[in-house]
């Protein structure tokens, strides 16, 4: 690398908070040349996004950049540029793609206008010419039916299409440098694969430099030339992607590389009795469309005549893209949602017609772990209160001491310290919170747990630990799981059997190894490819 396009040296960022100053980034340096992709890897809180925002000078108000910080872009030091000077660079020579395509587009403007605005801000031209250019961009990012898209609003598009619009916006002024901040984390695996291939193609054709921020090592391996590994706001390892993956030096990098979900589910007990059975489940939502006088009601069938059986000790995986109805099916089976039709049998008794009151004796035996550990723990309760709630409600445990003992056992099970009992959820990280959510289910000694994407909100290395934990717990307490996921890697490591769903229908079902190794349908094949090879 003789002449780097972007070179940052000694970047330091700290935030003033109520509880003192937090140093988010301490002395980070890296550089990237034209036509090259640099991957910045690290877990949440490692300072990788903050560094990128410092380059764009788009930091929050309470942030302070260190005095030693130097940022060279194309031979110029831009670290002391004024806001006005930065404006001419941002969106023009450096652009950025954000993680969340749902919130990064303005919902009240048509997408065509939003992209045209960027072009016209930096290069004055007529509306018509700008529109022509946007159309060209939409074709380039392979948006299906690009002419019609120009006049659509963001809500009329899917997540993947919106991310394509964001990329079109970033490319609008032919930038020299593209910063992509977890561009695919919020998307389905299959869509993620498509977006990444698109980015790679565009980089080649435009000869851009790309800084790709991600926590997904598979993505790094497939797309980048160089890699920087960050932890606690510092760079712990750097080098060419090939060298780092073949011969990692720092123990943290080795740990990250070793934390792909692996292992196999333990063997099933042969001829175990069915524990949870669902027969011909059908769930539909009524959608109202049109104006007051032309109101039309359409039925959206989320779950269409699906049957599923989970035997004692079994883990059943439900796989599909978002919107395939897998969560709806799971929630209906544990009676947190009402099915229109179908029979649910739990341990020999029908539970599908029971009222909420009548369900209460079954509640301790059937538990749920939700996807998002940040919203599943009440922020105003301490952990003891959260775990104790189920015990109190169900009259388990004679005294407060009794209940404390049970809570401590559950905390041991999920490998959390006992002093967590006195603390609030906000004091814990995502992975720790998910452990606590699992403890809340475990403390009731359930027989069946519905796991609704318990790992998808977590960093990869923590995912692997949660998967290991779940497998150990299943064995230790003889649990049965229903595991909802879109990530086949995780399913492979945990589930005995799997059901693949699309648009409310079962596409394929069978033992996990059979479905994953010899997928029968195109849809399943696509899911498998996306998960294991990052291929579109």
């Amino acid at each position: 690398m003789t002449n780097p396009l972007l070179k940052i040296e000694n970047v330091e960022v700290s935030f003033r908070t109520v509880t003192g100053t937090v140093k988010a980034v301490r002395g980070v340096s890296y550089e990237v040349a034209k036509g090259e992709t640099l991957a910045v890897v690290g877990e949440s809180g490692s300072g990788k996004s903050v560094t990128a925002r410092a380059i764009m000078s788009m930091l929050a108000e309470n942030a302070q950049v260190g005095s030693q910080t130097k940022i060279w872009f194309d031979g110029e030091d831009i670290s002391n540029f004024s806001d006005l000077q930065m404006q001419s660079i941002r969106g023009n020579r450096i652009s950025m793609i954000f993680q969340e395509p749902l919130t990064s587009l303005n919902p009240i403007y048509k997408v065509g206008e939003q992209v045209a605005e960027i072009i016209q801000t930096h290069r004055p031209m007529s509306k018509k010419a700008a529109r022509q250019e946007v159309l060209q961009l939409f074709k380039e990012v392979q948006l299906p039916n690009p002419e019609a898209r120009l006049d659509q609003y963001p809500h009329e598009m899917s997540g993947g299409q919106r991310q394509r619009v964001m990329i079109a916006m970033a490319l609008a002024n032919k930038p020299d440098l593209l910063i992509a901040d977890e561009p695919t984390t919020a998307l389905d695996v299959t869509v993620q694969a498509e977006i990444l291939s698109l980015l790679k193609d565009l980089q080649k054709s435009h000869n851009m430099a790309v800084v790709l921020i991600t926590h997904d090592l598979t993505v790094v391996e497939k797309t980048s030339d160089h890699v920087v590994v960050m932890r606690y706001g510092e760079v712990v390892e750097r080098g060419s992607t090939k060298d780092v993956f073949e011969n990692p030096q720092h123990p943290y990098t080795q740990h990250l590389l070793a934390s792909e979900p692996k292992g196999r589910p333990d063997d099933l007990v042969p001829n175990a009795a069915p524990l949870m059975q669902a027969q011909d489940m059908r769930i539909a939502f009524t959608l109202a469309e049109g104006g007051f006088f032309s109101r039309k009601y359409t039925e959206l069938v989320a779950v269409n005549n699906i049957s599923a059986t989970i035997r004692a000790g079994e883990t059943l995986g439900i796989v599909g893209e978002s919107g395939s109805g897998k969560t709806t099916l799971g929630m209906a089976m544990v009676r947190l949602m009402d099915p229109q039709q179908g029979e649910i049998t739990f341990a020999g008794s029908r539970i599908d017609h029971l009222s909420r009151q009548e369900m209460r004796p079954y509640r301790p035996r059937i538990q749920v772990v939700f996807q998002d550990p940040f919203s599943s723990l009440n922020p105003r309760m301490i952990i003891r209160q959260i775990l104790e709630e189920g015990l109190i409600v169900n009259g388990i445990g004679a005294s407060a001491q009794d209940r404390d003992e049970m809570i401590k056992k559950a905390l041991d099970d999920v490998q959390m310290p006992h002093d967590a009992m006195q603390r609030f959820p906000h004091e814990f990280s995502g992975g720790q919170r998910q452990r606590l959510a699992i403890a809340r289910a475990l403390v009731l000694r359930p027989e069946f747990i519905l796991l609704d994407e318990p790992t998808s909100a977590l960093d990869l290395s923590i995912q692997a630990q949660i998967i290991d934990l779940l497998r150990d717990l299943r064995h230790k307490h003889n649990l049965s799981y229903m595991f909802i996921s879109h990530d086949l890697k995780v399913v492979k490591a945990l589930c005995h059997n799997v059901i693949v769903m699309q648009h409310g229908n079962v596409i394929e079902t069978g033992p996990t190894s059979q479905v994953l190794e010899a997928p029968q349908t195109y849809y399943t094949r696509r899911l498998v490819n996306a998960a294991f090879n990052v291929l579109a």
């Binding site: 509640r363 992975g431 934990l469």
Partner: protein, 371 residues
């Protein structure tokens, strides 16, 4: 099992601070909010200990000082030497042409001031005291802010009036909070037809013109009704018109909380509606309710003084800032005795203080701010 210590995020565990500790810390970093809190405390303390702070009873009349102007406190004697604080009595002069009476300070009648003197008796929590914060050593009258048409001490009445005004504010705020919370939370939580009916009721209440309603109160109540009765009716009408806003705001908030995963997981462990409402939903709306309440108080104070000034609200012999201002409703008495406007100062002070306190609380309780 992999080593958990390796996780970058394991180190990100925050310090052991509860939500309220964080709120307190954030609040005390905001100088404007703290100033508001101090102002609020001054107003509240003067209401609680009005008997101690005010030199005289609200009804104590100094028959020799009608419309007497404020007496300045002096700390230098006539020779310019520093001395203990004293006030000077007044000599009445009459203008021979206009017959207008003017008060001139009389150096002959000096009364020294002292702390903790004995004066009119006052009751507090069933006990009787006769010590007042300050007064004259010789027991003669002095009037810090002058007197009114009956020779009553304006300063004492203003402090005494804090009680009624603040009581009105707190009663209305508390009752509106309770009604608004009950209606809003139940409407948002249970939803369906019940929610529909309740929301139409809220709209009906909100569409009511309030001023005619207050005036109608005067028409309904008998001429010789007890002042306490009028006070209660007046507060009831204020409550009736004020709970609706809170209930509507809370309803929206509850609807969003209702679908949070922690509520759904409470359902999954078998918790009853009652438990979910009181343990999960109400605590998570508490910051909203508290902020709403702190903004409500100054509004009620302003409304009370405005309506009492018109003669519609609190009635004599109850003393409130509004009824005191009622005495200066004609221009003549305003020109002759501008010091009767003193309660305006207290109104401004308390409204500013409670608003500043409310602003500070809102910023401190914002869950998204961490700066």
């Amino acid at each position: 099992m992999t080593n958990i210590d390796m996780n970058a995020e394991a180190g990100s565990t925050g310090p052991n601070l509860s939500y309220w500790q964080l709120v307190r810390r954030r609040f005390f970093r905001n100088a404007y909010g703290v100033a508001g809190l101090i102002g609020c405390l001054i107003v509240i303390l003067s209401a609680v200990f009005s008997g101690f702070i005010a030199p005289y009873d609200a009804e104590t009349k100094d028959r020799r000082a009608i419309y007497s102007p404020p007496q300045g406190i002096h700390i230098f004697d006539q020779d310019g030497n520093l001395t203990r604080p004293y006030v000077l009595g007044f000599r009445e002069d009459m203008d021979p042409n206009t017959f207008e009476i003017t008060f001139v300070p009389d150096p002959e009648t000096r009364s020294d001031l002292a702390l903790f003197v004995s004066g009119d008796e006052w009751d507090f929590l069933g006990m009787r005291f006769s010590t007042r914060l300050f007064g004259t050593t010789d027991g003669s009258f002095f009037h810090l802010l002058g007197t009114d048409s009956l020779g009553r001490d304006v300063f004492s009445r203003m402090i005494e009036g804090t009680r009624v005004t603040l009581l009105m504010g707190f009663v209305v705020m508390a009752a509106a909070c309770v009604i608004g919370t009950v209606v809003g939370v139940s409407s948002g939580y249970f939803g369906g037809r019940f929610d529909m009916l309740v929301q139409r009721l809220v709209e009906f209440v909100k569409s009511f013109p309030d001023l005619p309603l207050y005036l109608a109160l005067v028409a309904i109540l008998p001429r010789r009704a007890e002042p306490m009765m009028i006070f209660i009716m007046f507060a009831a009408i204020l409550v009736l018109l004020r709970w609706a806003d809170l209930s509507r705001e809370l309803r929206g908030k509850v609807i969003s909380i209702r679908s949070m995963d922690y509520v759904r997981s409470a359902v999954a462990v078998g918790a009853s509606d009652k438990r979910i409402i009181f343990r999960h939903i109400v605590p998570n709306t508490s910051s909203h309710i508290i902020v709403w309440a702190t903004y409500q108080l100054p509004e009620v104070i302003l409304l009370e003084s405005f309506l009492s000034f018109l003669g519609v609200g609190v009635q004599a012999p109850m003393v409130s800032w509004g009824t005191m201002l009622n005495q200066v409703r004609d221009f003549q008495s305003f020109a002759a005795a501008p010091w009767l406007m003193a309660p305006v100062g207290m109104i401004v002070l308390s409204v500013l203080a409670f608003n500043a306190f409310g602003d500070g609380m809102r910023d401190a309780m914002d869950p998204y701010s961490n700066d």
